[in-house]
């Protein structure tokens, strides 16, 4: 792997990491989108989408409520999607290592976001006098500094994670011993379990929601067995 292989992935991870909070929050950072874009960059869009769907099920649990601490999915889904798409024949364990790589990166990414917010506070404190005086330059530069730092955070996180995890994933796949179908079934079961739990947390207090959910399940299973 060369720097030229990592650079486009890192830039994509940076841009999508920026979308999570700073700009423009258009949800291009959702795993469904981010992983698909990473797959497209590798030349395997459908593989990216496949992993993105599994990650999206998990990401339903971690919505960006207020000042809560939440994982950073943008850069992480790029790392996971790129790793999975790099093995287009989908060997046994490819989805497992892709999802684990994304989840590990999202955990670290959440921590880097907390650090960034602390830095933003420190920069704001340093400019306190100028902000209290209503200095236009201070307000604008603080905003631009925060966004630039967030972009750099995403680029660095993606570059480091991809550089470390992609070779590790390849090594794991070379030594993988569990049946391919079973490996994938475990990933799907884990992802859908998180989604099920997340759905309950989100909607159990909404009047009538459980009936809508049950009706939806009936429709979902109808189409599943029809196909």
């Amino acid at each position: 792997m060369t720097a030229l292989d990592v650079l486009p992935i890192a830039i994509l991870g940076g841009v999508l990491g920026l979308d999570v909070v700073s700009f423009p929050q258009a949800m291009i950072s959702r795993p469904l989108v981010a992983s698909t874009l990473a797959g497209a960059l590798i030349g395997q869009t459908a593989s990216g989408l496949m992993l993105g769907a599994a990650l999206e099920l998990i990401a339903l649990e971690t919505l960006p409520f207020g000042a809560s601490r939440y994982p950073e999915w943008g850069s992480a889904a790029v790392v996971g999607g790129a790793i999975f798409a790099s093995h287009p024949s989908h060997p046994a364990g490819a989805m497992s290592v892709g999802v684990v790589a994304a989840l590990a990166t999202t955990w670290v990414g959440g921590w880097t976001m907390v650090k960034l917010r602390q830095w933003n506070a420190a920069w704001a404190a340093r400019k306190r006098d100028a902000l209290e005086a209503g200095a236009r330059g201070a307000v604008v530069s603080l905003q631009l500094m925060g966004m630039t730092a967030d972009l750099a955070r995403g680029v660095l996180l993606t570059a480091i994670a991809y550089t470390l995890l992609a070779p590790l994933a390849t090594w794991c796949l070379a030594h993988w011993s569990t049946d391919s179908r079973l490996s994938r079934a475990i990933v799907v079961a884990a992802a859908a379990s998180v989604a099920g739990g997340a759905a309950w947390k989100l909607f159990h207090a909404t009047a009538g929601a459980r009936w809508f959910f049950v009706s939806g399940l009936a429709v979902g299973f109808f189409f599943l067995f029809l196909r």
């Binding site: 909070v21 423009p24 929050q25 949800m27 959702r30 989108v33 698909t36 874009l37 497209a40 459908a46 496949m50 769907a53 999206e56 099920l57 990401a59 971690t62 409520f65 207020g66 000042a67 364990g93 497992s96 684990v100 989840l103 590990a104 999202t106 704001a124 902000l131 209503g134 307000v139 603080l142 905003q143 500094m145 794991c172 011993s177 179908r181 994938r184 079934a185 799907v188 884990a190 992802a191 859908a192 379990s193 989604a195 739990g197 997340a198 759905a199 909607f203 909404t206 009538g208 929601a209 809508f212 049950v214 009706s215 939806g216 399940l217 009936a218 979902g220 299973f221 189409f223 196909r227």
Partner: protein
């Protein structure tokens, strides 16, 4: 949502909203997309509010070098908290109040009163409603076999119609109503929207989970029955242990253990 009307209902009826130049409105709108650019644990969204308002404040008498501009920008860059999309309501209303020359004390009270409602309504409407709904609807379409372009395009277009529409509505509503904007927060979409979208999202969850699961498992649907049983049990477990560990962390531990087992065995 009741604290805002209490503080602002005493405000006199605003005169008809003056026209804000299109370029200024556009600049404010674009800056709204970056409102959380310097989000931090001290002043939260505060600097972002000042950043978004700055193009509008240039219209104050004397322009950017006047004391009025500096005082207004300093006031607006202090602590503020709201949902990032619904913060547009605050930005519009505060721009109007500043340009109308409202009493600074009233503006301060107004800012304080607006934080809570804009945060809680936005969280319920967007993060707990619109986003999961769009995500799950796209997963259902994915499960039906749609191409990457259709799945991603559908998600981004539908989600952002709501996202950008809400920001635009918020900015216009805030500007039109000024300090009396609390009455506009009684909009049926904001009051009843979270419930309705929540029901639709529950429906989409039911449709999406089996379909997405079926497509990711792939042809032949190996272990489908076992997976369905595992999902039912796993969801139950995650709900039971939610106060101790989040589901995504639990799934990371489980999958990491599977990877270790599969590699070492």
């Amino acid at each position: 949502m009741t604290s805002a009307p209490a503080s602002s209902s005493a405000a006199p009826a605003p005169s008809p909203a003056p026209e804000l130049p299109f370029r200024t409105r556009l600049a404010v709108f674009i800056r709204l997309l970056a409102i959380q650019g310097s989000w931090n644990y001290e002043i939260l969204l505060g600097n972002g509010i000042g950043f978004c308002l700055e193009p509008a404040l240039r219209a104050l008498p004397g322009g950017v070098h006047s004391p009025a501009f500096h005082q207004a920008l300093a006031r607006e860059s202090r602590y503020f908290n709201a949902h990032p999309y619904l913060a547009a309501v605050a930005v519009g209303a505060l721009a109007r109040a500043e340009l109308d020359g409202a009493d600074p004390m009233r503006i301060e009270r107004f800012r304080t009163a607006l934080c809570g409602p804009l945060g809680s309504v936005g969280d319920r409407l967007v993060w707990a409603g619109w986003l999961p709904f769009c995500s799950l609807a796209s997963l259902a379409v994915f499960g039906l076999g749609a191409s990457p372009t259709v799945v991603v395009g559908l998600f981004l277009i539908v989600y952002n119609i709501g996202h950008l529409g809400l920001r635009l509505w918020g900015l216009n509503t805030g500007w039109t109503h000024g300090l009396r904007v609390a009455s506009a927060l009684g909009n049926p979409v904001l009051r009843r929207g979270p419930q309705q979208i929540g029901r639709l999202a529950a429906l989409a969850t039911g449709i999406a989970i089996p379909l997405a699961l079926g497509r990711v498992i792939g042809p032949g649907r190996s272990f489908m029955g076992e997976v369905l049983v595992a999902v039912a049990l796993g969801s139950f477990l995650i709900v039971r242990v939610q106060t101790r560990i989040e589901g995504w962390r639990l799934s990371l531990f489980v999958l990491a253990a599977v990877v270790l087992f599969s590699v070492i065995r």
